[in-house]
């Protein structure tokens, strides 16, 4: 099985790059996964990633994109709660890419 390598530790991931063991996640690993996705992590990226982790912590699922948009809108306001904003941060699909970086499984209801 393929894996990420960081500071001498191996982190297994599935064929699409999602972390196998969510409990192994750490911010440094997130930076590495982001690099693989060709994303330079900014505070705005972290805001989304942290938000997803909190959502997962509370509900045990990674939200579908429209649910993420709605929840972001509620928490951070209209400017950030939009498809456009999230796609600018994560061009290959905000739910998919941000979830991968956050160490979460692929979003449930991601169609």
């Amino acid at each position: 099985m393929a894996a990420y390598e960081l500071n001498g530790t191996t982190y297994e991931h599935d064929e699409e790059g999602y972390l196998t063991d969510i409990s192994q996640w750490n911010p440094e690993l997130a930076e590495l996964i982001a690099k693989d996705e060709k994303i330079e992590m900014t505070p705005e990226h972290w805001e989304v990633v942290n938000f997803l982790r909190e959502y997962y912590e509370e509900y045990q699922i990674a939200p579908a994109i429209r649910v993420l948009v709605k929840a972001m809108k509620k928490k951070f306001g209209k400017e950030k709660g939009s498809n456009k904003y999230l796609y600018e941060l994560f061009p290959y699909g905000p739910a998919k890419q941000a979830c991968k970086i956050a160490g979460l499984p692929k979003p449930t209801g991601c169609v």
């Binding site: 509370e58 509900y59 699922i61 579908a64 649910v67 709605k70 169609v111």
Partner: protein, 144 residues
Amino acid sequence: MAMDEMPDVPDVTKKFLYVNRKAPYGTIYALESLEVVLIGAAFEQDVSLAFLDDGVYQLVDGQDTTGIGMKNFSPTYRALGDYEVTKLYVEKESLEERGLTPDDLMQITYEDEDDDWAEKPSIRIVSRAEMIDIMADQDVILSF
């Protein structure tokens, strides 16, 4: 309601009822049902869930799965409101037959967009007779 957001195609909305009759763990039915509901929610249908027989155990508060090595997915029911699934019908007789009361169930709420995002309970306790009417009123029933 979602219908306001899609005025062009209001007539394609169907009433879907997911019927849950089995205990949450031991079989995969409860988790599968929940995942189908979450995936199906993207299609903006009028979705409701029914819990009867051992299915009422799916909503019991304070589930702890550490002893059986399965993921406790019960917190996910509380996310249903985010997916605009806001009607969870629980059969009163099924609760009573198992020595349960509505107080034994999780607090599951949704925010009503049409009422200034007021938080409202999603769980509605209904009698067996009312459940029959609810089922008769559906376009599609999926049984788990």
